[in-house]
Symmetry: C2
DNA sequence: TCCCCCTTTGACCGATTCGGTCATTTTCTT
DNA sequence: AAGAAAATGACCGAATCGGTCAAAGGGGGA
């Protein structure tokens, strides 16, 4: 890529990054069209290719950028001393909500990238694939599982939380004018209820 | 459409329906390609258009067919006397699992159809849109909500169930060789756990 | 004011893919 | 054997794709 991209006004950089994330997240590498991306970003097609060389180049840059971004967000909102499973989940959620305030589609983009099947897209990424999920996993190891009551399987509970928070996010995104804060607030209510039910 | 479609061997009908459902469910109306559908169904392109006239025609037929199919499945597995919320959820699940044994992508296809934004696709469907969700809603009204303990919000619980069962289904589908039965069995474990936690 | 250079544009390219057609072949029925 | 129905797949024009490039725009130094 062309490093001069970073000399652009921050606002323009973000517009381009956001638009690209959105289309890759929603349609996958293959069906995301560069025409749509530049239209959304409000720039010309030539400019996009001037800075990123190719569609694969753009995709690789985005993945790397998102990875670094989310890693920082995650480490700045999680507390290594917290041992309550649900409070850790809330910290992770908070870091994601904060990230989405700048790039609404980061989370979705990264999830989609992990399922990508197009060889070129995989190749553009495979070097930097030190998954965020590992990081999340490490944090969750700190959790004190013994607080779960008998009859509350913490593995199932974890899956339910994953699916529910993801489904809720998609629902909020689908209903135009996505507000990360509103999503976060509702998500916390879900987490708190499950916490209440899972402990003695 | 051409009514002679129903004179085809049942197995061929199902192959065509399944393939079409799959691609519409996975890619939406616009990005589902008739070339891919006929390749999957193992028929020629001419035949598809011979029976359904156009892509929209095929889509409309599929929606109507799926709607009728699921309506029957639903009414044959739900018991009007059941008042336990979670048991009703299990009956609905059972009807869906049974449906997926014949058409693995019915459920996904119908969900996707409700979110469709392409005008032609909406038009091909809008007459028959007496949503299944209403039917499900009616059945759930029978549920005895008072059994939920304080602190267990039955509305949130309903959403959590929706998101979790859907997420679990997608997970099973993504992991090739989808088995409706295995999905159903795991889903029941989720439901049972939430039932245990939600009642006194 | 003029010039230079970097940014930015969008018309354009060849390739591919799309929904849909139709002359032709294969299969079935009698 | 013959006629009808089922089935094929090469083909069509249109649209869309990723990517190029000559030219326009614009800001700053002399």
């Amino acid at each position: 890529m062309n490093e001069k991209f970073f000399d652009l006004k921050k606002e323009k950089q973000d517009r381009i990054i956001s638009a690209a994330m959105k289309h890759f997240a929603l349609n996958g590498f293959l069906h995301a069209s560069t025409d749509d991306i530049v239209k959304d970003a409000g720039i010309s097609k030539g400019l996009l290719f001037h800075y990123f060389g190719s569609k694969v180049g753009l995709y690789g840059f985005l993945y790397d950028y998102s990875m670094r971004f989310m890693t920082i967000e995650l480490s700045s909102y999680t507390n290594k001393e917290e041992t309550d499973y649900f409070e850790i989940i809330k910290q992770i959620l908070t870091s994601r909500v904060d990230a989405m305030r700048q790039f609404p589609y980061v989370q979705l983009f990264l999830e989609r990238a992990e399922e990508e099947e197009v060889p070129e897209a995989i190749a553009a990424v495979h070097e930097k694939r030190m998954s965020l999920e590992e990081q999340v996993g490490t944090i969750l190891e700190q959790a004190d599982i013994t607080r779960f009551k008998a009859g509350a399987d913490y593995v199932i509970t974890g899956h339910i939380l994953d699916y529910s928070l993801r489904g809720l996010m998609l629902e909020h995104i689908k209903t135009g004018a996505f507000s990360p804060e509103r999503y976060g607030a509702e998500a916390v209510r879900y987490i708190d209820m499950l916490k209440r039910l899972s402990y003695n």
